[in-house]
Subunit: 283 residues, 3 copies
């Protein structure tokens, strides 16, 4: 019986051995296929990560944060009054008191520099005389810079005084050539204006964009006009201008540009994939 | 011949064996070097990923989405009329009809609450009496809230009525102390004003920033002034004020701050690197 | 002596072998535990990466870039003058010259199309006649589009002329049905107005949001009013309107929405984790 069983046992042994070998081959073959699939997916994903990174690097996302300050650096206010005359100029805190003598010269209690355009022959410098005034600083004490102008309106169609703003009055006073400083400002800044017959409230906000070497300051303005009540029987030819400059709130808006895709993240992904693929060769 | 070849075969055998061993050593040595290089790169990249993450976490990017609404929650409009008198107040839909009796009292068809400042002695509460009015809701029906004031202008230099806005009128009515509610508002909000002799159109937009525990609502305003034509031979001492509040469009601007760097991405990168390095020790 | 030492050596041999086996088991056991821990961390991190990605995909970050242009595409300005009459219309470069004959008809030196509302019976089309004017293009030469209107004010309470802006005048002229084009614009745009008795300076900025199939153009406006000095003893019933349209600066603000989370980064992380775990099965 044993002898008869031997061939059967041998056949059985061979069968099971073959089955084992076959299974092992199939299994290892399957493992290799799965591994190759994963490696292909990894390569595809690595490619997509890189192209995604390139796309995101072109469009940095905006990041805006608000920085609270106790007082602002004094801004410079450049006024181009043309024929209008500056009657008075004063800093108030909190509220504006009633006017003392509207239309008559009063105290000039603020820091003013007069600048004359040197480039008279150029058409792109449309101003002759500019008044540069030191703006308000103390935002928490609600500092108001009040200016008062008078214009004999018989000469002009429209009663308006142009002005522009820059971020640092001290920067201007430390420059050697005030006229050149203003001409450079004029190329990049927009002119604003306020109307005669009104008190114009200009609320300033500062938007700062840190650039590579320096910083870029821009002003955002919100204005309110309040009509002036000419109570005295004044001659109709005289127009009065009132303007109040103040800070809107104690916040500087800081704009950063954030590249949302990190090159190191992409590098890490690639590194991980290579490490995994490479270790297969070693083991 | 065979005996003579034997030493040569042996020498050949040793040479090839030595060459194989040498090659194998060089290869494995090279593999180790490459592996160490990759590991060093991985460590460097992990370090950079972490510092990149720290930098991005400090500057969350701004994400703005526009949410369309069918109607807004009624905002509160706080007016500080001082000496001016509210003549009429009405909600219109679509367009403003011609005025019935400008300068004369009319219907007060809106929800008004009168609030008196309790803190008379404080200098930082410059108001005595405030009118809190329920603002427009139905943006799709183009709801307009029209207000009409009269001021005997002999007392003031400038004709202006101050106001401020807050996002929920119902929030105010449910508060127990209206005066305290307004005083708290005054500390954070900016005052706006509209001028006499004009119809001021105030178009409101709401900017909502979801904060941790609550939400932060801010108003953006766009104003237009239209001159009032005083057709009657009125006394020159009376100034009329007209103001229209409406929603600009049915969109709420929602501002989210997105931290662009995910800590889990960085963790995943580190985890992958450690897994790969660690498996080398095991095999 | 050697025979006596033999059992001691054997005991020593067994001890050291047992210690080695024990150490080896403990070490490999520890390795497995550490590996399982790392794998669990990897799975957790993969889960967090995916949920982080889902959260970020819902809130795309805003990316704003400024594109400098040499000249803008001519915008369209739609004016609804109602009873007011257009007296003159001219393009200037740089500055506005003094008025020739205010209140009297002058040259109409600009491209104007007159459009009449077809849908007279609909309430949601409140205009009968609209003037569509080709806006300024040459921002570097500081092009100004000056318009001058006259209104017999005896009919209206308030002196205001409504207008709206759209980004391409040529787009309008190439459309077959001007009236339908304007009615479609009215549904999405906000009406603006300028007041009589003033010169209104409208400084335009363009904000472009590239959408899927087309682009979305929006205008941002900054306005200044300057009072008109009526020098002639004109009849009090006539109101004059002056408006100047110009570009604020040669920059188009382009808004992109960047999904800060890259799906490929997340896929790469998952792929790396699976590669590492899978290789354990193979070795």
């Amino acid at each position: 019986d044993e002898l008869l069983d031997a061939p059967q046992n041998a056949a059985h042994y061979w069968k099971s051995t073959l089955a084992k070998v076959w299974l092992k081959n199939v299994a290892s073959c399957g493992l290799v296929i799965v591994f190759l699939l994963l490696a292909a997916v990894a390569a595809f994903v690595a490619y997509q990560s890189i192209s995604d990174f390139q796309r995101q690097a072109k469009h940095p996302a905006m990041s805006v944060s608000f920085k609270e300050v106790k007082s602002f650096e004094a801004p410079g206010i450049v006024l181009f009054p043309e024929r209008a005359e500056l009657l008075s100029c004063k800093h108030f805190y909190g509220t504006l008191p009633p006017l003392d003598h509207p239309g008559e010269p009063g105290p000039l209690a603020c820091v003013i520099q007069e600048v004359y355009s040197e480039a008279n022959m150029h058409d792109n410098v449309p101003w002759k005389r500019a008044l540069v005034i030191r703006g308000p600083e103390a935002v928490l004490q609600h500092e108001l810079l009040f200016l008062h102008f008078r214009l004999n309106q018989s000469q002009q169609d429209f009663s308006g005084i142009n002005y522009l703003l820059f971020s640092s009055f001290d920067d201007f006073t430390h420059s050697n050539n005030g006229s050149a400083y203003l001409e450079k400002l004029m190329t990049s800044r927009t002119l604003w204006s306020f109307s005669g017959g009104f008190c114009t409230w200009v609320k300033l906000s500062l938007i700062r964009t840190p650039a590579d070497d320096s910083r870029l300051d821009e002003f955002h303005q919100e204005t309110n006009q309040e009509k002036y009540n000419q109570r005295r029987e004044a001659d109709q030819l005289t127009e009065l201008f009132f303007v109040v400059f103040e800070w809107k709130d104690p916040f500087i808006q800081e704009v950063h540009h954030v590249v949302t895709a990190s090159p190191w993240n992409v590098a890490a992904v690639l590194c991980g994939v290579f490490l995994a693929l490479f270790k297969r060769q070693m083991t």
